[in-house]
């Protein structure tokens, strides 16, 4: 069943895509919607025009990109930070606070201050689970999930309370100062400089992981903490702490960039769960920061296309979500089969899960 080498993998990959397309089409058709129109709308909404691509797809990709990087760097070190969502909120809170309080400052001071504050706040939010992991031995998976809920509710509290707009009616903060806003990256479009910042972060992160001693330690601890300790004299605790904080900072930056680039104020429900989708973004990129740029744009396109499917093809949101899920599964299956092909070229298929005679244990 999984035996394939050479060209067959492409066939299988194409078949997986086709099968998913058929499933999606049949589903839509059964629901009484026009699959062709849906597909056309999805495409045009994501890539159809330069405007759609730049002002919607790329704009949507920014939070995926930064939170995706946050997850990627953490997972590289074996830190299972599921908390990008909460860290994002922490960053957004800090950004909006600095952006309002610092209104007197010139842009060249205020804007960096806003972004740095966002990063620091994200790192601070990550510090709690990091310390619980290192000092108390409490696994970060659960603590980061819990911190997400705390962060979301904390932001909600702030916009109803201390940070609420001055007239005290709507659950949102005041808008940040003009000097705190990220300028447009492409003039006339909605794409802000935050996208460039995020891409730069991806490149920096890739370089750090590949070319620096610290990055190597991160990878070693992630691949085998025991060997990193025994063979490399690497202090896993220090690496975990630093990576956790860096990851939190990136997620916090995602919140800050969203505020400074797009919404200019903090609202309840700022993020629809980017911090969770980020895990998929990062893993699909095989935790490679540069590839995260690609997968983030893919998810941005998916969201952009989903909106267009509703608007242009009249497909209800719930159907659109179901189609999104199918697309993710299709991409995943295709990606998996392609990887199998690459490896299959070296290792002919074994379908009973045959392993190397001498499996190295992680």
């Amino acid at each position: 069943m999984y035996e394939h080498g050479g060209r067959t993998a492409w066939v299988v990959g194409a078949a997986a895509l086709a099968a998913t397309a058929v499933v999606a089409a049949v589903l839509l058709w059964v629901g009484g919607y026009d699959p062709a129109r849906a597909a056309a709308a999805m495409w045009s909404g994501a890539f159809g025009t330069r405007g759609a691509f730049v002002s919607v797809t790329l704009v949507r990709s920014v939070p995926f990109l930064l939170t995706g990087l946050a997850v990627a760097v953490a997972f590289r070190a074996g830190v299972w930070n599921i908390g990008a969502e909460g860290q994002l909120y922490a960053g957004a809170i800090a950004a909006v606070w600095v952006g309002i309080e610092g209104a007197a400052l010139p842009a060249w001071v205020l804007l960096p201050a806003v972004l740095i504050a966002a990063g620091l706040a994200g790192a601070l939010w990550a510090l709690i689970p990091a310390l619980m992991k290192l000092r108390l031995g409490v696994g970060e998976v659960i603590t980061t999930i819990l911190m997400n809920f705390v962060g979301i509710n904390f932001a909600a509290y702030l916009v109803h309370g201390p940070l609420q707009e001055p007239r005290g009616v709507f659950p949102q903060t005041e808008q940040i100062a003009d000097a705190a806003r990220l300028p447009a990256l492409v003039p006339g479009s909605r794409l802000h400089v935050g996208f460039a910042v995020a891409v730069a972060m991806a490149v920096v992160l890739a370089a750090v992981l590949r070319w620096t001693r610290w990055g190597f330690r991160v990878r070693a601890v992630g691949a085998s903490p025991r060997a990193a300790w025994a063979a490399g004299r690497i202090d896993a605790g220090a690496v975990v702490l630093a990576t956790f904080l860096a990851s939190g900072a990136l997620a916090g930056l995602a919140g800050g960039v969203e505020i400074a680039g797009l919404t200019y104020a903090l609202y309840e429900g700022l993020s629809p769960g980017w911090g969770y989708t980020a895990i998929a973004v990062a893993l699909l990129a095989a935790l490679n920061p540069v590839a995260v740029v690609g997968t983030a744009i893919l998810f941005g396109a998916l969201e952009a296309g989903a909106g267009a499917m509703q608007r242009e093809a009249g497909i209800p949101a719930v159907w659109v979500v179901a189609v999104e899920a199918l697309v993710i599964l299709a991409v995943l299956a295709t990606d998996q089969l392609m990887r199998t092909r690459v490896r299959g070229a070296q290792t002919p298929g074994d379908d009973e899960g045959n392993v190397s005679p001498e499996p190295a244990r992680a």
């Binding site: 709507f170 659950p171 909605r190 797009l262 909106g307 608007r311 719930v318």
Partner: protein, 321 residues
């Protein structure tokens, strides 16, 4: 996508944005029905998008406005900042923001004065309560919810100045179980008439009341947003309703005459958009004097002779900057 139809005189394009599913049998469902009413009564070409995040709001406005939509209903106060931005960019499109607080020539807040209905509900609640304790279960404390609760409490006090009013929020519009537990907790504290503003999760409140009744207690519920009397006809005394579809139709007609814009639209009892509807099946349990008292107050409100307290939030209103 029907470009040629748009050219036909008389047709126009209307879009609806909601921040939640239109299958909530409540707030968003009403708006969706309104959109369909525009299609059916005015021949409008319609489209709907459900958006989730503030960042998406701008994008949806931009997409609709730039593809030639004339009238965009954004059904929730959360859209107002994005609508103001979009209004500046697209002067030829009109943006109607339900519960919005700011306006411009082409940005129009559509204020549903549901407080008027919920004030009447408060009267019924206090009149029907034996314990002197009534409860309110909300989803998220947004101004429309806070406003209705404020009015509910005020209405209740006119009937029983000593009434105790409990208030809980679940933080969610979908979590039926949480709404039910919030209601159970209030019932446990002695509340015996409950009103809600939790949209799709409201059934949890009714279910809690039903179970209290089934266990031999006495308790009642009140519906909100739309006529929910037949959702749980055994326990719902009446509902504070907004006739959103009719109101949308009215707004669209005004737009067609070219007189929409530059000021907020208030849609209340006097416009016949807001009302309180007693459950015909339970009419016999509500004392006639209470019904009479409530009806009298309703007429005062309709006539504009009684102003129900509300949380002011529209620019230019007293107390709003």
């Amino acid at each position: 996508t029907g470009q040629q139809d748009a050219e036909t005189p008389g047709t126009f394009r209307a879009a609806l944005l909601t921040a939640g599913p239109v299958s909530d049998a409540g707030w968003y469902a009403g708006a969706y029905e309104g959109l369909l009413l525009l299609r059916d009564s005015l021949g409008a070409l319609v489209s709907h998008q459900q958006t989730r995040t503030p960042a998406e709001f701008d994008e949806a406005f931009l997409s609709y406005a730039s593809s030639g939509y004339d009238l965009i209903f954004a059904h929730g106060f959360e859209y107002q900042d994005a609508a103001m931005r979009a209004g500046e960019r697209f002067p030829n499109t009109t943006f109607v923001v339900s519960g919005g607080g700011r306006f411009a020539d082409n940005v129009v807040p559509l204020i549903f004065e549901l407080e008027e209905g919920s004030y009447l509900a408060g009267m019924i609640a206090a009149g029907m309560s034996r314990s002197g304790v009534v409860g309110m279960v909300g989803g998220v404390a947004i101004p429309p919810v806070e406003g209705t609760f404020l009015a509910f409490e005020a209405g209740a006090r006119t009937v029983n100045p000593d009434v105790q009013v409990l208030e809980s929020f679940t933080g969610s519009w979908d979590d039926v179980a949480a709404a039910k537990e919030a209601a159970v907790a209030q019932l446990g504290r002695g509340a015996d008439v409950l009103i809600h503003n939790v949209d799709a999760a409201s059934f949890g409140v009714f279910q809690a009341v039903r179970e209290t009744v089934a266990a031999g207690g006495t308790a009642w519920a009140l519906g909100m947003n739309r006529d929910q009397n037949d959702v749980a006809p055994d326990v719902i005394l009446g509902s504070a309703v907004i006739r959103i579809p009719e109101s949308f139709l009215e707004t669209a007609s005004t737009w067609q005459t070219g007189t929409l814009g530059g000021r907020p639209i208030y849609a209340g009892a006097s416009e016949d958009v807001i009302d309180f509807v007693l459950n015909p099946q339970l009419l016999d349990v509500v004392p006639a004097e209470l019904v009479a008292e409530m009806t009298a107050v309703r007429e005062l409100i309709r006539a504009g002779e009684l102003t129900v307290p509300r949380v002011p939030f529209v620019e230019g209103e007293p107390g709003v900057r």
